[in-house]
């Protein structure tokens, strides 16, 4: 069983997994970029859980896990072109959500049942900052789904294939990703 099958077959989803397993599965064993050192394992778990909730895996449609959404987000937050303000925004929102979960349920967000997560995220969305954060997280998921695989998401063009999308040629090589040109 590979890691994807393992995660998908987990009856209670990501919440049943240990923190190292989820984060390792999503962002691999690569060293964290210095820019994202402030993100703890707990933060990555919260982000992975939110991504999985917003864009769940289905039998015939890839979810956040299959499109490497956390790995993609990690790459975005760590690349040198990313505005530190954007990094801080993602981090602050993650902490706000964690705090919000504790206030409402007294347990970490990642341990909530799916319907409880939904209710909590909808409440979080009512706050202007919460909505802005969720909008951003959703956009990064969709980037992971549909940008060129050279950026770390959309492995083997899984997103393009799902949506019968034709990419344009020429595609960007690794040495000409946007922050390198």
């Amino acid at each position: 069983m590979d890691r994807r099958d393992f995660l998908l077959s987990s009856s209670t989803g990501l919440a049943a997994l240990s923190i190292p397993a989820v984060v390792s599965a999503a962002i691999g064993d690569k060293l964290l970029f210095p820019e994202v050192e402030k993100f703890t394992q707990q933060d990555w778990l919260t982000l992975a859980t939110v991504q999985n909730h917003l864009f769940p895996s289905e039998e015939h449609a890839p979810g956040a896990l299959e499109i490497n959404a956390l790995h993609y987000l990690h790459n975005f937050l760590g690349n040198p072109a990313t505005d530190p303000v954007d990094i801080q925004f993602i981090l602050s929102g993650t902490h706000s959500l964690q705090q919000f979960a504790k206030q409402n349920h007294s347990i970490p967000f990642a341990q909530l049942a799916i319907d409880e997560r939904e209710k909590l995220l909808r409440k979080f969305e009512q706050q202007p900052e919460g909505r802005r954060w969720l909008t951003n997280i959703l956009n990064y998921i969709l980037e992971s789904l549909l940008t060129d695989p050279v950026y770390g998401g959309n492995p083997e063009q899984i997103g393009w294939k799902w949506l019968e999308h034709r990419a344009g040629e020429p595609r960007p090589p690794a040495n000409k990703r946007y922050w390198l040109l």
Binding site: H53, L54, F55, P56, E58, A61, A81, D83, E118, L121, R122, E125, R131, L134, T135, L138, N139, L142, E143, L145, L146, T147, D148, Y151, G159, W160, W162, L163, E164, H165, R166, A167, G168, E169, P170, R171, P172, P173, K176, R177, Y178, L181
Partner: protein, 576 residues
Amino acid sequence: MSHDFDICIVGSGAGAGPVIFTLAHAGYKVLVLEKGPWYTEQDYFKDELKTSLRGGYTPDLRDEQHVVELENDDGSWKSFPTYQSSWNFWNGSVVGGSSNFMSGFFHRLKPNDFKLLSSYGPIERANIVDWPISYDDMEPYYDKVEKVVGVSGRVIDHPFQEPRSSKDFPFPPTMEHPIAGHIDKACERLGIHSMPMPRAILSQPALNRKSCVYSGYCGSYGCATGAKSSSRVALIDSAVATGNCDLRPHAMVTHIHSDQSGKVNAVEYIDKKGQQHAVDARLYVIAAQAIETSRLLLNSSGPKHPDGLGNNTHQVGKNLIFAGGGAGSGRLTYDKFSPEQVADLKQFGTFVNRSIQDWYEISDKDMFKTTAPQKGGTIDFVHLHPNPVARASRQTRGDGQLLWGKPLKDRIKEHFTEGRYIKVEAFCDWLPTDNSHVTLDPEVKDKWGLPVARIKVDVHVQNLKVGWYLANKSADVMREMGADNVLAFASGVPPTNLVAGGCRFGTDPQTSVLNPDCQVHDVENLYVTDGSFMPTGGSVPHTWTIYANAFRVADKILARLGGNKKTEYEPTRKTG
């Protein structure tokens, strides 16, 4: 007196390229100062992140931004720096400027566009004027752009076809998507003239350039084959090959110095390493795109120009215009069409290339409360932009809340796989008013410490009326095509990539910045050749007219310098 160069040109886009090309090929020493990098076809990829989501070809807004001033619903005004917003007025700070990223929808202005005031009369609160030149003055240069820069198309007879000196375009139309046939049939049933849209894209190898390869990603993207007629590939490459053109990328011009007589005597710029330089030339040209041209003039005060270069009558920055109009879309849902039609509709890469100009002039008493003809505009039919992230992101907008989870995935799947979208861009005049202009912001500065441009944007109600009229007409066509989910609307939001004015040309220095030759009235050795010169914008995208006018002014400059030093132009650009 000796000079470093015969002519120094600030900028390298559509307003600069014709001057660079003409003078370099005529044997004059040309210096081009471009603030952005020098990319070639080998650097342009179909990369949505770089092109559209991360602003990869425009300055970092943390370093260089603008301040925008917009009107609230109650008539008060609000302003904000663009870094703190989703606005971005940069359009391509690279060699060749934003012409690298245009869609190349090329339409000429019509004869009446050169005399809007005398043709249609005044409109309250709009600073409409006639141009100091006529369509006949510009026509040879429109023709030149077709042949030298490269425009593909096919002329058909329709009510507002402008006069042409060449019978047809030099290059046949680019390949067309089957959806064009659906538009043609719908227009025929409605008694409307559907016309092939001219494109600044080569449909066959020519001019030492390759043909379009129909990647499906054109507008917003740099061209990897050289088929798109950017200023860089069509004009600058061959100018550089003459050996007469010194092109310096990463050169940010910070000040244009002028002497006691008011003439320009040096251009100061900062290179990539932050080192300051000054150069001089016999003549100078600014073509930094409308907003930045006005800003540079306003930032360049001198002994005879205390309020900014060429601004002694306080006209610099005034009458900024955009392209007015509307937009629309509809979906040809696959289950309403035969399998063969669906297979055709799913084709990818070729262009829609259809326009309607039947309402370039409108007579509609119900809409405009007058029997007098009104200036109308152009409807262009295009594909929905293929950028997949942008398309998917739009599906997250739910009813008062974000859509996520399976409902979002289902909607995205349907959007991408159950129909083909057609989109409309309608163009009308963006009327110039006293409240649309560029000034220097008193507080916000760029990374070099220079005041940034403060852009005040005013929307005249006539823009919206005409925009609605055109949008509704386009909706009729889409419904006749059998489209579902038809939406059409006028827009008061300024398209930040279609901007002109700010240094209008005219005969009276009290009401214009440039004379009819686009020389700054009271600066005898300085010209402005980008879209800044336009007093009104026509009801089409501006780019063809900017190219044509720059060729016209280039001829004036060439005559002033003494004419050709060399004989006729022979392409010297390398092949392969």
